[in-house]
């Protein structure tokens, strides 16, 4: 049986051009959701098809790809996508943030500051930040066109009225370049400040919803808030049990069924690099300190 | 003698479209003059058109011919030819009207019913209410009723509220349709006093009054409206 051969990075060239055009348009209008003809990918909707299509249309033979899911390079999702591109494009992959030229991510922004030579590709489930309050697509498009965003602050007002503070902790709405309100994808609000004035290009892809949007490098991104309830990039008060970092976003890990738990860096590469550099947390383990990034 | 109000050749016919377009002529060639400080009483049998005359002066009824001239300083306005906004202006400034029946706005307290026309023309609400209180007191409407809506009052009480409302703003022309019909003797004489006071400050008063005693107290001249009756037997 003849082995299947794929076009470079799976998608045909015409599709890549179509997607690139959408990306250019998105970059030209920061925060604006550009519709695109999302293709059927060999993974179901909800598994990052939007991000995958953007990555596929941007990859060149010299690119180095990193894929993370909730900050980790090790999850099923991240591993699958990394292997997918390794197979269809034959490009180098890495877990080191600093080495990657394209980073595809689900629900986190890496801790390590990004540079001008890098592109961050976000996987987005619901691109429309107004959807929860306005179900009609026609109406939300109009609201964006007219800058009619009162309803967004209504949501924040409701939170404060009901809970005393704004309760949105992820996918926290932002205003891009002072014009469009955008959903940053379900990244924790802790990551919002990283989007502001970032040297890297940030691209957002929603495959099922068929939208692409972008934040060009060095663009102003402001999280919505009230003057008397300003935005706080909260994080759990603690340090990473492995590397001791007190300023990275932490994941909670249950260690037993008696309430034992650990807090560790969500960004596995960040944690690893810190451990390699000699930082230690209270629960530093042999495996964490053995280093060994799996670049190929 | 400064003329405040003049009717000249006024006529009124009702067309009853629901009865095949029957025409019901009521008044023709109504002409009279009322001077400042003068009180005119209209008399005549029921149905001859006395109330209609008042309503035409106030602008509620349209008139089919003639002029209704209201003089204000150097200006003269013809109610018969005025457009709706002008009539509203005239009512606000020149015309006070006591209807036969008090149209009650639900939930509005008596004191506010009386004060409202003053407030509407710019008087401070508290000042208006204070003056309303004074007038209600004179008319023997007890204070405990002032915060209630006149909906539940007796006919006589409602009428006194109606009178207070029309007299409070001290307009130059007063139109009174049976102001004392439901009142007892004491109240009747109080109302007569108020009308005399209005006259003294220069108001021209046109009223429809059945009661002979009250007529005697307030009338400077009397006109029998049958004179203008449009239906001739």
């Amino acid at each position: 049986m003849t082995p299947l051969s794929y076009n470079f990075a799976y998608l045909d060239e015409q599709t890549k051009r179509m997607i690139r055009r959408a990306i250019l348009k998105a970059i030209a209008i920061p925060g604006y959701q550009v519709p695109f003809a999302s293709r059927e990918m060999p993974m179901p909707y909800g598994w990052g098809t939007g991000g995958v299509q953007i990555t596929a249309s941007l990859l060149g033979p010299d690119d180095v790809l990193k894929v993370i899911d909730q900050g980790s390079d090790d999850t099923t999702n991240a591993v699958s996508i990394r292997k997918f591109f390794a197979k269809t494009a034959g490009i180098c992959t890495t877990t080191l943030t600093a080495r990657a030229t394209i980073i595809q991510t689900r629900h986190r922004i890496p801790e390590h500051p990004l540079g001008e030579h890098q592109i961050l590709v976000f996987q987005v489930p619901i691109p429309e930040p107004l959807r929860f309050l306005e179900a009609r697509e026609r109406e939300t498009r109009r609201m964006h066109a007219l800058g009619d965003y009162g309803v967004m602050h209504v949501k924040l007002y409701e939170d404060i009225a009901r809970h005393g503070h704004i309760t949105t902790t992820y996918d926290y709405p932002v205003k891009v370049a002072g014009r469009y309100i955008m959903a940053p994808s379900p990244t924790p609000k802790f990551d919002n400040p990283k989007m502001n004035n970032c040297p890297a290009l940030q691209l957002f892809g929603a495959g099922r919803e068929k939208r692409i949007y972008a934040i060009p490098p060095y663009t102003q991104v402001v999280s919505l808030d009230f003057e008397d309830h300003p935005f706080h990039p909260d994080r759990h008060d603690g340090v990473c049990a492995w590397c001791g970092a007190d300023d990275s976003f932490l994941d909670e890990m249950l260690t037993d069924d008696r309430g034992g738990r650990l807090f560790v860096c969500s960004d596995t590469d960040h944690c690893e690099q810190r451990c390699n550099a000699g930082h230690r947390g209270l629960q530093a383990s042999a495996s964490a300190s053995s280093g060994g990034g799996n670049g190929r | 003698m400064a003329v405040a109000l003049e009717l000249d050749g006024v006529a009124k016919t009702f067309t009853l479209h629901l009865h095949g377009g029957t025409k019901l002529p009521v008044l023709r060639d109504v002409s009279f003059v009322v001077a400042r400080g003068e009180s005119l009483v209209l008399t005549g049998p029921s149905g001859c058109g006395k109330s209609s005359v008042l309503k035409m002066i106030f602008g509620t009824y349209r008139c089919d011919a003639g002029r209704i001239l209201v003089r204000e300083a150097d200006d003269v306005f013809d109610v018969a030819a005025a457009d709706p906004r002008e009539i509203l202006r005239l009512r606000a400034r020149n015309l006070g009207y006591v209807s036969q029946f008090l149209r009650v706005i639900p939930r509005l307290a008596t004191i506010d019913v009386v004060a409202e026309p003053l407030v509407a023309t710019g008087t401070d609400r508290d000042v208006a209410r204070a003056r309303a209180a004074g007038l209600l007191e004179r008319l023997n409407v007890p204070e405990r009723l002032w915060s209630l809506s006149p909906v539940s009052f007796s006919g006589g009480e409602q009428q006194r509220v109606n009178i207070a409302r029309a007299l409070l703003p001290e307009r130059p022309i007063l139109l009174l349709d049976e102001p004392t019909a439901a009142l007892d003797e004491t109240s009747r004489s109080i109302v007569a006093d108020l009308i005399k006071e209005a006259k003294r400050r220069g108001a021209a008063v046109v009223s429809v009054v059945h009661d002979q005693e009250v007529r005697a107290l307030i009338a400077d001249k009397i006109i029998d409206v049958m004179r203008f009756c449009a239906v001739r037997s």
Partner: protein, 259 residues
């Protein structure tokens, strides 16, 4: 009411749906502080007229002119959609017959009232909340219910909330479509009283569409009677109700049931 330019002018406004007439050749002027009642039975065209006036429908012919806050009188058709929406949110109010259409039921009363403020840039939670509470009081809704959702309000309360939501930005013109229909008599009386006080107290201009002559008598100084898309008669409310000239008006007035 001094000699000033009209706030809203309808000039031969016509809306047809193919052969069917919505409204035909309607002209009038509305001044600041005036309340005009548009009265008619179902199918008279009164709601179509209201929607043409408030730019929710595009008229087939004729114009609507509006005097903006800066004194210029503009043809509303010449405004951009953004300008029209801004006008709708700041200078105008629209009270729907069904309050559910004019409210966000899933969001608290305070948020409902505050939304317009937030839409025009208010960004201080405390101020917004205080303003919302103030307006709830003015429409006689207990301030304690500011965080309740109108899902749990009665019909009369919802209608009052809708009014508060519209008044918060200090509009100069309010459109009302049958504001009291479907409400119990006592609730209706209370609402009408409130509308009267607010409209006259705030010197608003208002156009109220109703089929109920008693509402017209109570609320308006001027009235227009419509039938089959045409204006049959217009004038002062007491003129039209006490001395109706046209056959249809006489029919309408004589049909009022009095208890």
């Amino acid at each position: 009411m001094d000699a000033e330019a009209p706030l809203l002018i309808a000039d031969r406004l016509t809306k047809t749906y193919g052969q069917r007439r919505g409204c035909h050749d309607v002209s009038f002027s509305l001044y600041e502080g005036e309340l005009l009642a548009v009265v008619g039975e179902s199918g008279s065209g009164k709601t179509t007229l209201l929607q043409c006036l408030s730019t929710q429908l595009v008229p087939t012919s004729g114009r609507v002119l509006y005097r903006m806050r800066d004194g210029r009188t503009c043809d509303l058709a010449a405004l951009s959609e953004a300008e029209r929406r801004f006008l709708f949110r700041t200078d105008w109010g629209y009270v729907h017959q069904d309050p559910a259409l004019g409210l966000r039921l899933s969001v608290s009363a305070g948020a409902n009232v505050g939304e317009r403020l937030m839409a025009i840039g208010a960004r201080h939670y405390g101020h917004i909340r205080r303003t919302a509470a103030h307006w709830l009081e003015r429409v006689e809704i207990d301030k304690q219910r500011i965080d309740d959702r109108p899902e749990f309000y009665s019909g009369g309360m919802r209608q009052r909330l809708q009014i508060a939501r519209n008044l918060v930005t200090g509009p100069r013109l309010i459109f009302m479509d049958e504001p009291t229909s479907g409400l119990d008599a006592s609730v209706q009386a209370r609402l009408l009283d409130l509308i009267r006080r607010l409209v006259y107290g705030l010197r608003l201009a208002a156009i109220v569409v109703t089929h109920d002559l008693a509402v017209a008598r109570l609320l308006s100084q001027r009235m227009m009677v419509m039938k089959d898309g045409e204006v049959i008669e217009c004038g002062l409310s007491d003129q039209v109700l006490d001395d109706p000239q046209r056959p249809y008006t006489q029919l309408l007035v004589s049909s009022i049931l009095t208890p």
